[in-house]
Structures are given as structure tokens and as C-alpha cells.
């Protein structure tokens, strides 16, 4: 059986990639994808522990998170479409109206 630590390491690597993506990318869609990556890293942690402890709660949580992530993706995409309508660009650095 694959040791649990491996899953956790993989999850940490995925999360770190996601963070890097969010911090470095300017394209809104890419940032969005990076966030999804982070969410799924967390999901992976959940199922890894669920397997370790033989507890189905963790698996259940993952289903909920996936459902909510889908909803959130819909809202996020709607925001970007709207942004694109206004600015003909989804570069987040250009969306800085709240700047002081």
C-alpha cells in the first residue's frame, strides 16, 4: 500500500504550484485554474486521511467541496465574462479601480 505521507507530499506540491500560479499569473482564467489546483490539493489531503483512519466523513467532505467548487467556478467565470465585456481584457492588473 502506498504510504499516506506520499499523498500528503503530493498534496503539498500541488498546493504550492497553485499558490505560485495565483501570485505570478496575470490572466484571470489561469489564476482561476490555479485556485482549482489548490482546492484539489486540499481534497487529496482529505481522502488520504479518510483512507488512513477508515472514516468516510473525509470522503463526504470532498463531495461537498467539489459541488461548491463547481458553483464557485460558475460565479467566477461570470465575473470574468463581465469584466471582459467592460475592458476587453481579463488581465487582473488592469482591473485596479479601487486603487488609492
Amino acid at each position: 500500500m502506498i504510504p499516506t505521507e506520499w499523498f500528503l507530499v503530493l498534496s503539498a506540491i500541488l498546493f504550492a504550484i497553485g499558490v505560485c500560479g495565483v501570485l505570478t499569473r496575470r490572466n484571470g482564467i489561469t489564476i482561476f485554474m490555479s485556485i482549482e489546483l489548490m482546492i484539489n490539493a486540499v481534497n487529496l489531503t482529505f481522502v488520504a486521511y479518510a483512507r488512513l483512519f477508515g472514516d468516510l466523513h473525509g470522503v463526504m467532505f470532498v463531495f461537498f467541496i467539489m459541488a461548491i467548487a463547481a458553483a464557485e467556478a460558475a460565479v467566477g467565470l461570470a465575473i470574468f465574462i463581465s469584466l471582459f465585456h467592460h475592458r476587453a481584457s481579463i488581465d487582473v492588473d488592469e482591473a485596479n479601480l479601487m486603487h488609492w
Binding site: 495565483v22 501570485l23 496575470r26 489564476i31 487582473v92 492588473d93 485596479n96 479601487m98 488609492w100
Partner: protein
């Protein structure tokens, strides 16, 4: 009608609303019609109610018409309720009918004025408020009318609001009255606390039942009287009334002579049971009344503005009324109120007619010789002058005489009563003198105005002269409602009798026949002396008489002319310290408070400026800070 008494004030109030909202656009004839309908409607409904009252009640009982419960809280409460009883009826008849006559007069007098609609809207509002004052069945509801007439007085004094002195006079009247209202309010609080109610009848019963500390009763009486000194222009709060002449002349006649200013007398007469339980308070009322009567009469001797003379005369006559109610002759005080309403309204309206004829001139030094030119005004003015001077058998003679005789024979404080009588008689002498001085300077001698004024002198139109004639007629016969016992039947005293129940075994005052005759003869002689002196001085010599007096005793002349410097004294003692302390609070204390508030704002703003640096508007920066925050947080947690 008896159970819809509320209709009486509602009618003029509707007139106020109509004229107030639509009068400006609807035009003059609409305004005139509505205003006259409002006042005449109140007068007719009032008369109808009085007729019904007479058919139902034969012993002066109170008719109560409760409209609804105003508020109830624990043991205390008050109703919106109207009442009709002998005293209310007298006031109702005087206020509505004299009020209607003055409305009629105003149609002519104000016809050339800007703001015609505004004037009549206020005048109708005044009628409504005055009717609430006299028909209300509790001190609290009366107070509603009391304040309402005060408001109308303010609005109408300041009617020519583009003139500084008129606006200032309005403010003065309002503020001085506030001081009196403070007394009225505290008196009502005491009634709630110690007598359990503010309803006239309940207060009276609770006070008569005993068990209330006499000091409390005295306090209530004195505080109520403080309210009366404000509204009815007595020492020390009389200063607003002479200034109130800045308003249009019919307003001076209606509000500042015939009706509103007598509200204090009405209130004291209404509270006669309380007052008779507290002889000290009565003595204060009588002495203040006598002092005011004399004091104002002496000022009247040297005034040159026709309306100012009448204003001081009003203050003086109000003093007579308070003398009457103060010595326990409540019916006599109310009697003088009624006759005064007739002759003083006539005098004011007459002076308005003179001013009208003189193209706005008010200074009697520039009048003279008007007798032939405006005969109706002159004759009615003469009749009213005779009435106020106290010649038998004109109205003023009988009422003033009853007051003086009552003062002489009062059993509450016999010694002080004699003093009050003497003061009153001297005041009566001065009254006759200054009124005939006014009369001679205005109507006799040669014309002293400009050429254009002389050319323009004309008798007033019928809407002005008809009220004058009616009021002059009433000034002749008005006294017959209260003849002295030795001559005839004192109908008014009998009518008022049910309202003056025996308190501690005392009913209304009794005046001996000898006293009555003596006082009458003395009063008539005093009036004659005042008239003859004025005649010898001002008939022919005109202004020279005043000038020679000025030369002989300049100090006295100047003091009287400057009204004993009372305004200056109040200015120095009250107004200026108050203004100075206000300025101190504004400039110093306010600066400190504002400084603290401003400092707080400054600190918050400083922090805001600091934090603004993090608000880059760049999403990725936010995300970075967020991650750093999470890292720090987790680090601290683990």
C-alpha cells in the same frame, strides 16, 4: 350644538388652512370671503351654542363636551374637551364678535398690503387658537390655545418681516412670553403632582377638599400669575407689548388689546378658588396690577406715537383688571375685560383709521386738526376716549369703578386694599389725562403734517367705519351689564356668581352702599380733573405744553419719554449677560468640544493614510498578503 363645541374653533381653523394653502393663488376676493366666513361662522356657531346652553342650564353649571382622551398615564391624564360655562360664554361672545368686527375692518385696512392672504390666514388661526384657549376645559388644553395665540401674535407682529424692527419686536414678544410660559408649565406640573389633575373642575374640587399644603397652592397661584404677567403684559414682563405695535393696527386691536392679552385675566378668574385659598398670591396679583396700572399710565403721558400711547394704555388697563381679580372681585375684573375690549378695540381701530387717513403717519406731533376731516373716526374715537377715561355712564366708568370700590372694601387684606385703591385712582387720573392729550393733539389745533399728507386726508371706507360705529356704541352701553347695586342690577356679577363658590365661608365680595357712592363720585371727579387739565394744556397750546414741561423738568420728561429706561435695564441686566455667556460658550467651550471631535477625526485619518499604502488595487498583491497572513497565522498557531 352643545355636543359639537369643537366645531367653533374648527371653522376659523379651516379658514386658516384654505387661505394658507390656496390664498396666494386664489386671489383677494376668495381670501376675503374665506376669512370673513371663518370668523363669522365661529361667531354664529358660538351664539347658537350659548342659546342652547341657556335653554338647558339655569344655574351656571358647566357643560362638558369631551372629544377624546388625549393621554392617560398611570393616575394622570387629560382629555381634549371643550366646556361652556358663564365665564367661557362671556369670553366667547367678546372674542368672536369683536373678532369678526376686526376681520371686517381689516378688509378695508389691509386692502393695499402685500401678503393680504397671509394676514388673514394668521388672523383666522388666531381666532381658532383663542377659541381653544377659552373653551378648553383643562389647564393643559387651555395651554394649547395659550401657546397658539402666542405663535399668531409673533407671526402678526412680524408681519412686515422685511422691516428689522418688526421682526425684532416679534422675537421679543415670543421670548418674553416663553418666560411666562415656564411659570404656567411648572404650575401645571405641581397640579398634576399635588392635585392629581389639570381639569378646571377637578383642580377646584381637590383644592377645596383641603389636605394640600397652602404653600403648594400659593406656589401654583404665583407660577400661574407669572404666566399671566407674560401673556397679559404686567410688570415685570410687560416690555413686549409696546413693541408689538410694529404689527398692523387691526392686529393691535384684536390681539394686543381686546382678546389675547386678556387671557391672563381670564386664567386668574378661572382659577379664583385657588387664588382665594392663597391671600398672599392674591395680594401679589393686586399689587402688581396696581403698580402696572400706574407705571404704564405715567409712561403713556409722554409718548408721541399714537399706537404707543394706546399700547401703554392697554398695559395700564390690564393692570386694572388684575387689580380687580387680585382683590377678589373676579366678576369686576372680567367686567373690565369686556368693556376694555369694546373701547380699546374702538380706539385702536380709530387710530388705524387716523393712520390710514394720514398716509401711514403715526406721530401725533405731525397730526392735528383732523376733527372736521374725518368726522366718523373722530366721533367714535371721542366716545371711546370718554369711555376709557371713566365718565359716567360710559362703559369704562362702571367697570373701573367696581374694581376700585372692590379694592377699597376687600376683606382679604384691608390695608393693602386701600393702597391699591389709591394707586388705581391716581392711575385713573393719568388715564383721563393722557387719553385727552392724545385726543386733542390728534384732532384739534392746526394741521402739523406735510402738505401732501394734508391733501390726502380722507375718511375711511365703510368696512372700516361700520366696525368703529358698532364698537363706539358698545363703548357707550357696555357698562350697563354690570351696574353698581346702589343704582341698579349687576347682571354680570350675578351671571358669574355660580363660578365663584364659597371658599372657607367667603363668597363674592360685598361692597357697602356708602363706599359705592363715594368711589363713584371720586372716580367721576378724577376723570373730570384729568380731562380739564388735558384740555387746558393741549387745547390751543398744542405741542407748546409738552415743550414747556420739558423745559421745567427735563429729567422727569426724559425718564418718561424713555419709558423709565426699563428696556435698557433689561438689556444690561439680562440680554447682554446672556449674549455674552452664549458667546463664551460658542467661542470657548464649543471650541474645546469641537477640538476633541476634530482630533479624533484627525487620528483616524492618519491611520487611514497609513493603511492606504496596502490598498494597491492589484489583485495579486492582495493574494500575496493573504498568503503571508495565513503563513504568519499558522506559524503562530503551531
Amino acid at each position: 350644538m352643545l355636543n359639537t363645541l369643537w366645531l367653533i374653533p374648527i371653522v376659523p381653523f379651516a379658514g386658516f388652512l384654505l387661505n394658507g394653502f390656496f390664498g396666494k393663488r386664489a386671489g383677494k376676493s376668495f381670501v376675503t370671503a374665506v376669512a370673513l366666513a371663518g370668523s363669522l361662522g365661529a361667531a354664529l356657531l358660538g351664539t347658537w351654542a350659548v342659546i342652547e346652553y341657556n335653554a338647558h342650564y339655569h344655574h351656571g353649571e358647566r357643560h362638558l363636551n369631551v372629544v377624546y382622551n388625549w393621554f392617560t398615564s398611570g393616575n394622570i391624564g387629560a382629555d381634549i374637551a371643550f366646556q361652556l360655562d358663564p365665564l367661557s360664554i362671556i369670553m366667547l361672545m367678546v372674542v368672536t364678535w369683536v373678532g369678526f368686527l376686526i376681520h371686517l375692518y381689516s378688509v378695508g385696512y389691509m386692502s393695499h398690503e402685500e401678503g393680504y392672504w397671509r394676514y388673514f390666514a394668521y388672523l383666522n388661526l388666531f381666532m381658532a387658537m383663542m377659541l381653544i384657549l377659552i373653551l378648553g376645559s383643562s389647564y393643559l388644553f387651555m395651554f394649547v390655545g395659550w401657546e397658539g395665540v402666542g405663535l399668531c401674535s409673533y407671526l402678526l407682529i412680524g408681519f412686515y418681516y422685511d422691516k428689522d424692527f418688526a421682526a425684532a419686536a416679534g422675537k421679543k414678544a415670543f421670548i418674553v412670553n416663553r418666560i411666562g410660559d415656564f411659570g404656567f408649565l411648572v404650575a401645571m406640573f405641581l397640579m398634576f403632582a399635588y392635585l392629581g389633575s389639570v381639569d378646571f373642575m377637578k383642580v377646584q374640587q381637590a383644592a377645596m377638599a383641603g389636605g394640600v399644603d397652602s404653600a403648594i397652592i400659593t406656589a401654583i397661584c404665583l407660577l400661574l400669575f407669572l404666566g399671566a404677567t407674560g401673556k397679559s403684559a404686567q410688570i415685570p414682563l410687560y416690555v413686549w407689548l409696546p413693541d408689538a405695535m410694529a404689527g398692523p393696527t387691526p392686529v393691535s386691536a384684536l390681539i394686543h388689546a381686546a382678546t389675547m392679552v386678556t387671557a391672563g385675566v381670564y386664567m386668574v378668574a378661572r382659577s379664583n378658588v385657588l387664588y382665594r385659598l392663597s391671600p398672599i398670591a392674591m395680594m401679589v396679583v393686586a399689587l402688581i396690577g396696581a403698580a402696572t396700572a400706574l407705571f404704564a399710565a405715567t409712561i403713556g403721558l409722554r409718548q408721541n406715537d399714537i399706537k404707543k400711547v394706546l399700547a401703554y394704555s392697554t398695559v395700564s388697563q390690564l393692570g386694572f383688571m388684575f387689580m380687580g381679580v387680585g382683590v377678589g372681585a373676579f366678576a369686576a375684573g372680567v367686567f373690565h375685560l369686556v368693556t376694555h375690549a369694546f373701547f380699546k378695540a374702538c380706539l385702536f381701530l380709530g387710530s388705524g383709521s387716523v393712520i390710514h387717513a394720514m398716509s401711514g403717519e403715526q406721530d401725533i406731533r405731525r397730526m392735528g386738526g383732523l376733527w372736521k376731516k374725518i368726522p366718523i373716526t373722530a366721533w367714535t374715537f371721542l366716545i371711546a376716549t370718554i369711555a376709557i377715561a371713566g365718565f359716567p355712564p360710559f362703559a369704562g366708568f362702571f367697570s373701573k369703578d367696581e374694581i376700585l370700590a372692590s379694592a377699597w372694601s376687600t376683606h382679604f387684606f384691608p390695608g393693602v386694599g386701600k393702597l391699591v385703591y389709591v394707586l388705581g385712582t391716581i392711575a385713573a387720573f393719568f388715564t383721563a389725562f393722557y387719553m385727552f392729550r392724545l385726543f386733542y393733539l390728534t384732532f384739534f389745533g392746526k394741521f402739523r403734517g406735510t402738505h401732501e399728507q394734508e391733501h390726502h386726508v380722507h375718511e375711511s371706507p365703510a368696512t372700516m367705519t361700520v366696525p368703529l360705529i358698532i364698537l363706539a356704541f358698545l363703548s357707550i352701553v357696555g357698562g350697563f351689564i354690570g351696574l353698581p347695586h346702589v343704582i341698579g342690577h349687576n347682571w354680570l356679577a350675578e351671571w358669574m356668581h355660580p363660578l365663584i363658590p364659597d371658599v372657607e365661608g367667603h363668597g363674592p365680595l360685598h361692597i357697602a352702599g356708602v363706599v359705592e357712592w363715594t368711589v363713584m363720585i371720586v372716580s367721576a371727579l378724577v376723570a373730570l380733573a384729568g380731562f380739564l387739565l388735558a384740555r387746558s394744556l393741549y387745547r390751543g397750546r398744542e405741542l407748546a405744553a409738552d415743550e414747556s414741561f420739558e423745559r421745567r423738568s427735563p429729567a422727569v420728561a426724559r425718564t418718561l419719554e424713555n419709558k423709565y429706561y426699563v428696556d435698557e435695564f433689561y438689556g444690561a441686566a439680562v440680554v447682554r449677560p446672556l449674549a455674552a455667556s452664549s458667546r463664551f460658550l460658542w467661542k470657548v467651550i464649543d471650541a474645546i468640544i469641537d477640538g476633541i471631535a476634530a482630533m479624533l477625526g484627525f487620528i483616524v485619518r492618519g491611520f487611514g493614510d497609513l493603511l492606504r499604502f496596502f490598498q494597491t488595487g492589484n489583485v495579486r498583491n492582495y493574494a500575496l498578503m493573504f498568503f503571508l497572513g495565513v503563513v504568519v497565522f499558522l506559524f503562530l498557531l503551531v
